[in-house]
Symmetry: C2
Subunit: 637 residues, 2 copies
């Protein structure tokens, strides 16, 4: 699943975050469906809420307030409790910011949601700002021009990251405004506000994750000692899940649980709602010396830190509200969290399991594409039914937990809408001729997958074949690269992108994103994008390789495999790393023009196809195996 490749903080939906969802899957989540239904019941509610909020703002002396669907942990998916922008506007898409002033109200969202947002706002007093169109001001710029010097902008400090708070504060300062926190304009207005989930957590067994939590804590502590850090504050939910080998069901797709942790040289404190912890889980954690605290005790804990303590935390992943609890006499060390760095490099057990998880995921995919091409009974597949079928096939795999995001199945022109997701209204049959772009993934206890393939339905056009082959060349360029120690993601982004450029093409998303292990499908800190990345690539990092090409009104093509960074050759110029492709699913031979491939590229394709065949065939029924043999037959000039 691709990520939009724009700087953090420049996207409306992002509100300064990097890992917010960039796919339409969220439209299918529980919260969004509910929000959409409730919005359809009454447009009037929105204006009532806006007016109520304005009154609360007036009482608090605030002239503008920013609403976004963000939680205190800056998560990609958030519990309904934190969907304040959806509540105030009735618009439930995965990207959007609302600003309410006394005079005006605006919603900013990107091109994926222009239509849906316009529909949601129809009949309300909220103006839609189509982010990304020429001449459309950003929300910060608009707010600055709507307010007068001396006036007050406010945000909810509990869901505003320290990094964003600082940017907004600087922007306010530049425009003679003041940034406030501490007002809650929803207050009593949001009568039926859902509670923060109290879903129980469960343990991720060591046979899957490969390392005990004591071992992880020990490594973290040794790193802290090396940097003279006394206390590490863990705020990102996937960092928390990884460090303690716990998982949860608080949100869709991401198997995380809401909590905080504090690690010192001799303590490991886990701050969780006590209802989340069963006796069994509690005993297991206690046995490893982990002390449990209530979720809401974290601020008090920080306030009690002694002067001179050195505290490491991540300004991008910590709310300003919590940051304020840190005493001034505590010295803070800011940056990418050490836990995120450790989590990014998959251990030997994880790498081994990922390779075998790719087999069951590949088997489901090959069964799916066989079903799609060869038919099975009378059903004519549509985008939605195809996605359901794939989910059903994947669910037969051992340790399957769910999808890692809502599958993107786009047929023909729909494939060119990078973040398309079918719904009941847009759904179309997959026929007669055209390309089907299918981006999907699964959560298994033994690994997270994410793959994009393009199937040719009927006879592909010459243009489709050329485009697919160009994307394939870009994919191969990255798959075969070797790079020196110290290389960062943006340097590898160009390796794939320049191939597209030479063919006059380009794509608006990044070339790859980090992936978790039975964790978030978008995981930092590394990525292959054009924006600067302070983190060098290291062995064990698990990342997608997914260049694409989108022709509006015609078709969309993306070829996505997951790769592991591995040690490579060592030369006079130092140590090199390489990328090991581990995803297993055939490339479509009908879409490959071998005359456009170099000898090396052709060899890579044939090697890849034969690996897919050899690894998957033992697990396929006879007809599917025979069909796959044809699909993966060696291509010749």
């Amino acid at each position: 699943m691709c990520q939009i490749d724009t700087p953090a903080g420049e996207r409306a939906g992002a509100l300064g975050q990097r890992e917010r969802p960039h796919h339409p899957g969220a439209k299918l989540t529980r919260g969004e469906l509910r929000a959409t239904l409730s919005r359809r019941r009454s447009h009037v509610k929105v204006d009532d809420r806006v007016e109520g909020v304005r009154k609360a703002m007036k009482r608090a002396g605030v002239h503008a307030f920013i609403f976004a669907d963000v939680d205190p942990h800056q998560s990609e998916y958030v519990p309904d409790h934190f969907r304040t922008r959806t509540w105030i506007s009735g618009f439930g898409g995965s990207a959007g910011v609302v600003v309410i002033t006394q005079k005006s109200a605006g919603l900013w969202t990107d091109s994926r949601y222009y239509l849906e947002a316009a529909e949601a706002l129809a009949g309300t007093t909220i103006t839609l700002f189509r982010d990304g169109l020429p001449g459309v001001p950003g929300y910060a710029e608009w707010t600055a021009s709507d307010l007068s010097p001396g006036e007050v902008l406010a945000v909810d400090e509990n869901v505003t990251s320290v990094a964003l708070y600082r940017r907004l504060d600087a922007a306010c300062h530049d425009n003679g405004l003041t940034l406030h926190t501490g007002i809650d304009p929803m207050g009593n207005l949001w009568k039926d506000r859902p509670a923060v989930p109290d879903d129980p957590i469960f343990l991720h067994e060591e046979r899957f994750c490969g390392r005990g939590r004591k071992d992880k804590l020990e490594e973290l502590r040794s790193s802290m000692a090396g940097k003279r850090v006394g206390v590490t504050l863990v705020t990102a939910l996937d960092d928390l899940a990884w460090l303690f080998n716990i998982r949860g069901t608080d949100v869709d797709y991401n198997p995380v649980a809401t909590g905080y942790a504090v690690i010192t040289a001799d303590k490991a404190l886990l701050f969780l709602d006590p209802r989340k912890i069963s006796d069994t889980v509690g005993r297991a954690l206690a046995a490893d010396g982990i002390e449990l605290r209530r979720y809401d005790e974290i601020a008090a804990y920080l306030r009690g830190l002694e002067a001179g303590t050195v505290l490491a935390y991540s300004p991008e992943k910590t709310s300003y509200g919590l940051y304020k609890a840190i005493p001034a006499a505590v010295r803070t060390v800011e940056g990418v969290s050490q836990v995120a760095r450790m989590k990014a490099c998959k251990n030997e057990t994880e790498q081994k399991l990922l390779r075998s998880t790719m087999v069951k995921d590949g088997v489901a995919l090959e069964n799916f594409f066989h079903w799609l091409e060869e038919g099975e009974g009378q059903e004519e597949p549509t985008e939605l039914s195809a996605a359901r079928k794939l989910r059903e096939l994947r669910s037969r795999g051992e340790h399957f937990v769910g999808e890692s995001f809502a599958a993107i199945a786009g047929f023909g022109a729909h494939g060119a809408i990078v973040h398309y997701s079918a719904d009941e209204e847009s759904d179309v049959p997959i026929r007669p001729d055209g390309l089907l772009l299918l981006d999907s993934g699964a959560q298994y206890l033994d690994g997270t997958t994410d793959i994009t393939r393009v199937a040719a339905i009927g006879r592909p056009s010459a243009g489709a074949v050329r485009d697919y082959t160009v994307v394939l060349k870009a994919h191969i360029a990255l798959a075969t690269i070797e790079f020196p120690e110290g290389t960062t993601g943006p340097q590898l982004d160009s390796v794939a992108r320049e191939v597209m450029w030479r063919h006059g093409a380009n794509y608006g998303h990044g070339t790859g994103h980090g992936v978790g292990f039975f964790l978030n499908v978008h995981e930092g800190p590394q990525r292959f994008g054009s924006q600067a990345d302070p983190v060098a690539l290291e062995p064990g990092m698990y990342t997608s390789n997914e260049p694409g090409l989108y022709r509006e009104g015609l078709h969309g093509i993306r070829i996505e495999n997951l790769v592991l960074v591995q040690e490579g050759k060592e030369t006079d110029f130092g140590r090199f790393y390489r990328l090991e492709t581990i995803t297993l699913c055939h490339l479509e031979p009908a879409l490959i023009d071998v005359s456009l491939l170099s000898d090396e590229e052709l060899r890579w394709v044939n090697d890849y196809q034969s690996t897919v065949r050899e690894r998957l065939t033992p697990h396929l029924d006879e007809p599917v195996a025979r069909w796959l043999e044809v699909k993966t037959a060696a291509l010749v000039r």
Copy 2:
């Protein structure tokens, strides 16, 4: 001439700057030669100076002071007046920082200068810190550990950029130290301190620079109006020279003059030492509405700015001392200077002249290589005599002013020392077998050149041929790239670098740097380096393409041409740009293994060679023309 590819502020010599010299040419400058001579006369002086400085520090309550050879304009080459590090340490290399504390004293320099610095410091109490070696602390880190919390670090605010001041201030804050300015520990100690040069400026005629200063000022003002900027402060000397079409001789190689400028909607004020301005020049400037002020009046001018004024300036190019003069009620807009952005895009006249300047520069180079290979009389060339010969040949070209940096001629293993420069001690004859790396450039009134070629003396080894061909492939990859509007330098850096990676090689410098027009050979804001660059590439930008490969003890290879960004194709994916290679000098056929080249690469080489032959032959004597015909004959498989 290549630039080291490390982040700003991480190099000792840089003291936070980006455009400091990364070549040893400075060893040959007037100031450095003098410094070296004076150092050789007495080692005792150094410790006397250190002790004198310590006393001054003690009186001022300062516990550490940083010395660097930096001027108030953050120039690459600085007048002797500003060489305080050379004065205190006796070490005159182009990169180095000295820190003096009450207990200790250290000099930080990089690998180019380990030897020379060790020699300079022998017998002194200053410790040499070899920057870049494992375990060697940076000067900021060392200073923090040498001082105790509560103590005071001081810098000269007049030569410390705002950007560096902020970084040092933050580092001091993190370590419980205080950063002071306002003390001058040299005071009366530096008895014979040279004055700031009062060399006269001269006008750069419009027939060369293509645009009048009124026209440039008008464009700047229109840009200012669009951004609601009321005042632009010009601090970089090359910005100043470009904007007013003036040049000077204050320093070696860079034809700039020391001054400041302030541009408002209706005023253009030029702050210069009045002795620099002849009557003729003064009248010409006055005729274009430019008002002259004394150099030392700039601070007073800034102090007088009205509250609410919006002032644009560059924190990387402005001293903290001058910045302090800006009243708090003035709003500052920070970033890359608009003048630098305008200057970077060469106009049509400049582009046309550069193409013809390349002919005379190429003629000098071909005459030089012919002389080197075929001999002429009895003289056996050495590294130094070859560089002198090339300078002499170039000086015959029309409008020749001087070299754009001290030529780097490195034979055999010397070529692998990236910033090698021959001196009387290191100089070797260019014989019998080996590669000669020659990096050189010239200043003409009608353009600045910078080119690197490698000549094969005797019979090249198979390894030399392979290495040269790999560098050539990397060079061609960049020379032939087309890239979409909005692409930045780091994205293009990877285009060349990945070719090297695939062959297990790499280089420690950037792939290219911006170049001025009869201005600095290192000119921002764009560059092809691995570090993030906020500036997108635009048509008219003039940049080097210079991948390299260095085998310690064996040989060094770099192939450098200058390129102009030009408009390219327009596709469904938007507008693309391409690079026009304009440097004219043959590539060495004896070093090219055609079996390693693709058909496209071979075609590029043959096209380039025939362009060189066609453009230069009319200007060459018969024997040289015949020789060049052989050199540039089409290569076949």
